[in-house]
């Protein structure tokens, strides 16, 4: 059996987390190719259903990364996102998928190191949890990278 390479979907806000990813790139900081970034105008744009559909279609872990608390470009988008992430975690626990597959992170545009470390830590955490159990009922699964 092939070694498990988790598929991670990261919803990153344009103003902070995505720019932090750019910063990580500029600084030549490595982070796992498992992380698939979806740029969003604000983390507050991410709805619970976006996170759930990612998992339903085979992602092993999903995180939302927004601006630091109090620093959202749109004032409260990141706190809204954090509440939605908490909602999805609870719902996933209810259906036995495990809410720990979903997380919320915050970082500023200058925190390239934090972006890279978050991507690595989350990937390793999901690797430890193993494949998303919904894959048991899928015809084909996504591949990492």
């Amino acid at each position: 059996m092939d070694a498990f390479e988790p598929v991670i979907v990261a919803f990153c806000c344009h103003y902070c987390a995505y720019t932090a990813a750019d910063m990580a790139g500029s600084k030549r900081l490595p982070y796992p190719a498992n992380v698939n970034i979806v740029r969003v105008p604000c983390s507050g744009k991410v709805d619970a259903i976006h996170v759930m559909r990612a998992l339903q279609r085979g992602a092993d872990g999903v995180y939302v990364a927004g601006c630091l608390e109090g620093d959202c470009h749109f004032k409260t988008g990141n706190t809204r996102a954090a509440k939605r992430v908490a909602y999805v975690r609870k719902l996933l626990d209810e259906i036995g998928i495990g809410g720990e597959r979903v997380e919320m992170f915050t970082m500023s545009a200058g925190m390239g190191e934090r972006f890279a470390r978050t991507a690595s830590d989350f990937t390793e955490k999901i690797r430890g949890l193993g494949p998303n159990p919904v894959k048991a009922g899928m015809k084909s699964t996504l591949s990492a990278g």
């Binding site: 259903i49 759930m52 559909r53 998992l55 339903q56 209810e94 259906i95 048991a136 009922g137």
Partner: protein
């Protein structure tokens, strides 16, 4: 609006278990406004149920549809072209919508996905509170626009009772004393004389005392 809350997933999973193809029907009216059974909630529940059964290795098919109103036959009719493709309907509407589907599609099992709660208003984003019990004979004109039937825990028509402290009800510190609200508002409106008049005993036959109620408008009914 009529307010509702999604049932626990455990209960919904049990409902759905015997079936393989489910029509998940939301409603665009009250349950959309109180974030219980509109298009977004339909999508989330559909995804959660599908993930659960995928995890179990027995995937199910769920079709999502959100009707304009499930309590009106003309909109429930829109399910007709789809209904035969499904084993059962899971409705995210209030109890009225669930029953309308049951009445129209007699051969199809229909199950509620939400618990219908009360007629309420939005206090702030994500918070809804009871405001009306549909008693059938509105007294708001006599009580400064604050309903003692819905908002007084004892439904007192001449309050408050001895359980009112600091404007709160003895039932919970979270509950305002309706009669304190009524008194404050009567005073503010310069209508404190109104408080001296005792309201007569209420005729509860207009509520549920005479069984299920019906409204017939002769000018509109066929």
């Amino acid at each position: 609006m009529i307010t509702a809350e999604r049932k626990p997933m455990e209960e919904l999973i049990e409902y759905v278990k015997p079936y393989r193809r489910i029509l998940l029907a939301g409603c665009n009216e009250c349950v959309t406004v109180c974030a219980a059974g509109g298009r977004k909630e339909v999508a989330k529940l559909s995804s959660a149920l599908q993930m659960y059964f995928m995890k179990e290795g027995t995937p199910i098919e769920i079709e999502e549809i959100t009707l304009e109103r499930q309590c009106d036959p003309e909109y429930v009719e829109e399910l007709l072209p789809h209904i035969d493709q499904f084993d059962a309907v899971l409705s995210m509407a209030c109890g009225c919508g669930v029953q309308e589907i049951a009445r129209r599609y007699k051969a199809k099992p229909v199950m509620p996905a939400v618990n219908t709660k009360f007629m309420g208003a939005s206090e702030q984003q994500g918070v809804w509170a009871e405001r009306c019990q549909g008693c059938g004979e509105c007294v708001l004109g006599l009580t400064a626009g604050v309903c003692p039937v819905a908002r007084c825990s004892k439904r007192l028509l001449n309050g408050p009772c001895g359980g009112s402290t600091g404007g709160k009800c003895e039932v919970s510190r979270e509950v305002d004393c309706a009669w304190q609200l009524i008194w404050d508002r009567l005073k503010a409106l310069g209508m404190s004389d109104r408080y001296e008049e005792n309201l007569p005993a209420k005729d509860w036959r207009t509520e549920r005392g005479s069984g299920p109620r019906k409204i017939v408008r002769e000018d509109l009914a066929p």
